[in-house]
Amino acid sequence: MRTFWAPIGRLGVYIVVGGVAAIMILPFYWMVITSFMPAPDILSFPPKWFPTHVTFEHFVVAFAKAPWLSYYWNSLVVAVGSVSCSLLFGLFAGYAFAVYRFPLQNLFFLLILGTLMVPVQVTSVALYIQLSKIGWVDTFLGILAPNFASAFGVFMLRQGIKQIPVDVIEAARIDGAGEMRIVLTIIAPLIKTTVATVAMILFLGSWNDFLWPVIIINSAGLRTLPVGIALFKDPYGNINYGPLMAATLISTAPMLIAYVVSQKYMIRGIAMTGLKG
């Protein structure tokens, strides 16, 4: 696989990859540049590629307008809570679906998959009514309620575990390990890449989740990042792009950095175990 591209021509590949990368990054470029442009520049015609002068006024406005630390903290609590639960529960459930045969297995699996098939826009009302009866509205538990597990997580982890040869599991059983031990100490390390991938996607999903948090959160002190950023919009489409882009940048930049860091960790992890996936 390593020398796969040799016949095609490395230079050609670089040009294509680089060109497409430039297109991919264009919206980010615009987002960044707009946060530093004075307001008349943003709406100028013909549009400007570079600001006439760099200004930090939008960041000042954005920082003053919103309690960013509170938003970060809330988003972090929700994301960590949701991802750790989803991984843990998903690992065990994925193992069960991959390895065992038990009655109603397919039905349960379909049930879990089925939760993905009804749009959250409508179920949100029924769930909200349910949660208000137990007093979970406007609480962390309320935000987490539909996110304690993830159908995506179960599905992906099941796929990953199915690829582990049965012999490994059998060997562990013969050695006397209990099922729980097997899952946690043998299976999990073997599917590290899958787990990391699932963790990343779930974390991103939780970090950017907007619809459910906006419905369930009432207090300003509980707001997560996407809910906070939405408040930079004006009704009727009178969008003030400068502060909005600054706010989006403030919320996105850490995620990008976290992604880069996590990538390095994943590579190191794989190299260390010597085992792929």
Binding site: V125, I215, A230, F232, K233, P235, G237, N238
Partner: protein, 429 residues
């Protein structure tokens, strides 16, 4: 395991939060309003001391929470269904039909309504009275009026009198033609910018002036809640659509490529546009500090026709499911008293509501406010029918189809008429 300690942290935080929330419980009432600097006259909510006087006087704490406008209706609905809604809602009056269909709001007490209606100026009465003195909320100061705004400098350059806006459709077309600039076959400045994309309701709102200008309307009885007939497939509506279509195709004085009329106007690439004047007033100082602009009533079909324009407002309302209704009404009455009206309008540079306040400075001499006062008598609020949203969806779709050259005027309006009647019937069931 490290995971276990993470769990412990998370669980502790989770369990502490409700405790913290419960611990601070004195009598607190909540108010929900849409976030934003420019629109909605909600600027005063950003003032943390806005309610301090009220809080001291009545020993009630007020928590004003900003919400995202786009998802606000959904949130209000879910909250009301879960009986967990705020005590005071600051809502767009165009949402009223939906709220009334679900019987979500509590009407203003008769005595208070009477007092209010007799103390405020006529345009506020128009926005408050929903038939026989019934009020569903108190309209906010600084109401929306849809007016024509024009670029005075560009008028002068084109040889037009900068103080005389077009009054009839013929003048309107003529002026727009003179003001349009082309370069190499492409229009670089339109005489008039149209709103034709985005939410269909917005498209209809910005086109109302043309329909009203012919003496037309969208529904036969604007004050009737259930039932009635849509008036979409009429010569009036046809004429209104044809006006813009002609400007697009024949005059070439407008274009589909300027989808954000307000931004285009502020940037000087549109000489005229028609929408809420408040938006221009709020945005112009920051976005176009050198712009000299005027505002007036939109043009009418023929000389001598009575101009009609659209009025919009935000309302302070109390939902039926609120937990602290008495205190909610206290807050609303306090916030909308004559003294507060004067104080806030002065502070936030908006036009007042009480007749008595109009007699005082600065409102008496302020040119913008007086300009608005000339326009108010010709304003009408949106019809109250429960099927209004469906009517507007249908009309918006028709407008888009016609101006995008995807259907003839007759076909589009016939289809919209059908859909609108269906919506009215469905909503009345």
């Amino acid at each position: 395991m490290r995971r276990a300690s993470w769990f412990a942290v998370v669980l502790t935080v989770l369990f502490l939060t409700p405790a913290v929330v419960l611990a601070g419980a004195a009598k607190t009432i909540t108010l929900w309003y849409p976030a934003g600097d420019i629109t909605a006259g909600a600027a005063h909510f950003a003032d943390k001391n806005l309610f301090s006087e009220f809080e001291k006087k009545y020993n009630i704490k007020v928590e004003a929470v900003a919400l995202d406008y786009d998802t606000m209706q959904q949130k209000i609905f879910a909250a009301a269904a879960g009986k967990n809604v705020a005590d005071v809602l600051f809502v767009d009056s165009s949402w009223l039909p939906g709220f009334l269909k679900e019987e979500m709001l509590e009407p203003v007490a008769d005595a208070k309504a009477k007092a209010w209606l007799s103390a405020v100026s006529p345009e506020i009465v128009e926005l408050s009275d929903y038939g026989k003195g019934r009020m569903w909320g108190y309209p906010q100061y600084g109401i929306d009026v849809y007016g024509l705004t024009w670029n005075k400098t560009q008028f002068k350059d084109a040889g037009l009198d900068p103080e005389k806006p077009p009054k009839t459709w013929d003048e309107f077309r003529e002026y727009a033609k003179k003001l349009t600039k082309t370069e190499g076959g492409n229009i670089t400045r339109v005489g008039y910018a149209i709103r034709h994309v985005g939410h269909p309701h917005g498209v209809v709102h910005k086109h109302f002036w043309a329909i009203y200008g012919t003496g037309g309307a969208l529904i036969d009885d604007p004050n009737r809640l259930r039932g009635g007939k849509a008036l979409i497939d009429t010569p009036h509506t046809k004429a209104a659509l044809k006006l813009i279509l002609d400007m697009l195709d024949v005059d070439k004085s407008t274009s589909l490529n300027f989808p954000d009329p307000r931004a285009a106007f502020l940037k000087g690439i549109a000489s005229m546009q028609i929408s809420e004047t408040v938006s221009i007033k709020a945005r112009q100082p920051k976005e176009a500090p050198d712009l000299k602009w005027g505002m007036a009533l939109p043009p009418v079909e023929k000389a001598g026709d009575k101009p009609v324009t659209l009025l919009g407002a935000w309302l302070y309302s109390v939902p039926k499911q609120a937990k602290n209704k008495a205190q909610a009404w206290q807050l609303i009455e306090w916030l909308n008293s004559q003294e507060k009206d004067f104080e806030l309008c002065k502070q936030y540079d908006a036009s007042p509501r009480y007749k008595a306040n109009w007699e005082k400075e600065p409102f008496k001499s302020d040119p913008y406010d007086q300009g608005l006062k000339q326009m108010y008598p010709y304003g009408k609020k949106l019809p109250i029918n429960l099927g209004l949203n469906g009517i507007m969806d249908a009309m918006g779709g028709a407008i888009q189809k016609v101006w995008h050259h995807e259907a003839t005027i007759d076909a589009a309006l016939a289809e919209a008429q059908r859909q609108a009647d269906k919506a009215i019937a469905d909503a009345a069931k």
